[in-house]
């Protein structure tokens, strides 16, 4: 049955809450409270920090000691609190403007100092509380009160900024993709270090209506069109992907450019593989992972992408990738790092 004990973490006596009908912040508050409750986090072991904005009001609705900082300063406050009180779980509830514009400097430095805090960014791509001005994540071309002919600047790409250097944890989700949202919350809370959940949220009243949406649900459908979920371990997310990009340590520095093959192996001397034989080497049952490229067969078992259980999900194993690699973003150089073990039968 559904567990409703999360309400004990909320100041239900202050409901109905202050946010507009259909506002995504209600969903964020509720789902974060649910997960905190499930993890057993409470007023003895957890504190929340909010900034300024509609999102900033979340702190006032939680049954925890909460700190409501001036605009943009939630991350700094959270970091200082965690430093003095490593015994407390520290959660930041804030928004795109608070974290990305006025708080931008703190976003850069708090994230690089990597305190063990979890940040939930209600990213509704607008300054809602003050009436609907363009914000740092407002997509280019969006009409707002301060961009009447459409926002002229590119938005800040939080996903790129927060994943430039390990360690990092950046999750992007939406208030509509509820199961994914919940999974992101859970993983972020449990991540040891600075974790950031970029929650694409709807501001129907001060943003959506100007864009032509009549209901919050219509904005949900719009999120569904704009984004799609990507599964599995990722280093980075593309701008339209919902998922989790995380890394604990920097990968080994791999030199770019073609690697000279020291030992010249004559083409005729290489063992031949038919497509069926190639398929056999797919990583299962302790076998190595081979791929075909431009007539040669490479052993890519050593790739960091396919270690441990990921070996099982290596969908390119045992295949001829000549066509695929041509259109891949990373180019063929990547293949040449791996040892040649044979050639493809013509």
């Amino acid at each position: 049955m559904i567990n409703r004990s999360y309400k004990e973490l909320l100041k239900m006596g202050r409901f109905p809450h202050t946010w507009c009908p259909g506002c995504g912040i209600g969903a964020v508050l509720k789902n974060v409270a649910m997960d905190l409750r499930e993890l057993g986090w409470n007023d003895r072991n957890t504190t929340v920090v909010s900034g300024i904005g509609c999102s900033g009001r979340m702190a006032g609705y939680m049954n925890l000691d909460a700190v409501h900082t001036p605009h943009g300063r939630a991350l700094t406050a959270a970091e200082a609190i965690k430093t003095v009180r490593p015994d407390l779980n520290v959660v930041v509830l804030s928004g795109d403007g608070d974290l990305g514009a006025i708080g931008g400097n703190h976003l850069l430095h708090t994230s690089r100092r990597n305190p063990d805090i979890t940040v939930f960014c209600n990213d509704n791509e607008i300054y809602g509380l003050t009436g609907g001005q363009a914000g740092p994540t407002t997509p280019k071309g969006t009409k707002t009160i301060t961009s009447p002919r459409g926002e002229i600047f590119q938005p800040l790409r939080l996903g790129r900024i927060l994943t430039t250097q390990a360690p990092y944890f950046y999750a992007r989700t939406t208030v509509y993709h509820l199961n994914h949202f919940k999974a992101c919350i859970r993983e972020a809370l449990l991540w040891k270090g600075f974790s950031f959940v970029d929650i694409i949220s709807d501001c129907i009243e001060l943003n959506g209506r100007r864009l032509g949406f009549k209901t919050a649900h219509q904005m949900f459908k719009w999120f569904d069109e704009r984004f799609h979920i990507v599964e599995g371990m990722r280093d980075h997310l593309k701008d339209d992907e919902l998922g989790i990009a995380k890394r604990e340590v920097e990968a080994e520095e791999v030199p770019m450019g073609k690697v000279e093959v020291k030992v010249e192996v004559k083409h005729e001397d290489l063992k031949t593989f038919t497509p069926e034989e190639l398929k056999h080497f797919d990583g299962s049952e302790g076998r190595p992972i081979y791929i075909g490229y431009k007539g040669k067969v490479y052993d890519i078992s050593a790739s960091p992408l396919f270690q441990g259980e990921k070996k099982m999900r290596c969908h390119i194993a045992g295949k001829d990738l000549t066509k695929d690699i041509e259109i891949a973003p990373h180019g063929e150089d990547l293949v040449y790092h791996f040892p040649i073990v044979g050639r493809l039968k013509e």
Binding site: A59, G60, L64, V67, H68, P70, T76, A80, V84
Partner: protein, 346 residues
Amino acid sequence: MKQLLSGNEAIFQGAIRAGAGYFAGYPITPSSEILQQAAARAEEDPGFRFLQAEDEIAAAIATISASLAGAKSFTATSGPGFSLMQEALGWGHAVEAPCIFVNSMRVGPSTGMPTQPAQSDLLQIKGGSAGDYYPIAFYPNSVEESFRLTVTAFNAAEESLSPVLLLFDALLSHLYEMADLDAIEVAVVPRTKEPLGRGQRLFTGTAHDRMGNVKTNDPEAYRDWLNDLKERHLQVADKYPLFEYFPGKDPDTLLIAFGITSRIVAPLKERFSIFRPIRIYPVLEKELKKVTQPYRHIIVIEGNDGQYASWAECAISRKVMRVPCLGGGFKLRWIQSQIEERLKGR
């Protein structure tokens, strides 16, 4: 054991004596040595935490947040940094966080003269942040007094539950004098405010009533809250009516000087009476009224364009004369000639 130490060192030692456990700061002349001592201390003392923040805004917010989390915290800066910290100071008053802000004043406005002393941030104490608030500020004039007054400032902070200001200046910061700190006995007021993680309180800069509930539409609740705050702060200030008074030969003339200026005009003690306020704010109204009463001429000698003079005039309802020592010019000869000029023909 007597040791040779600087004003900046004395302040830091005073903070340690008072039980400080957190320092956040940003490098700025002439207070950087306090930041550096904090960094060194943090290396060897696990009970002392340190942050070199990305800017003074973060340093101030971190100081206040660390206080809410339970640490005795402080920060140190100079004019331009102090300007950046103003919003945070207002917040510190609103959330009632006991902490110390050290401002080692230099010539302003703006970047001004980084290595020249001034006393020109007085009006900023009271009017730097938006709204009404009641800060307490002290200003020592020797290395030994710096040590003592730092502990006093921490005590006043705990009692008033507010950010107390320790005023300083570029000369005093780098002045080296002999002092025996271990021999100095000074009581330390312990932390009584409950830290985070003990309840369901909201620490907010938004207007709230005495219970902590946000009240953005209730003039009566606001008045109650502000009057409570004001009364508490004024009561604490009254516990520290610190000043020095040296009656001189001339029965008609009183010089008022504080901080480094009082040291420079000290040789004039034979001839003129000197009043040295040590608690700079709230203004020592009662004491000034009493001391100035028998004198015909009152001359305020300060490193600014008449800031304390204007407060003194308000306090005693009388006009005073001014000798503004601007741009780092504190030469005694020049001050003497200015005094003579003011007194000519009177």
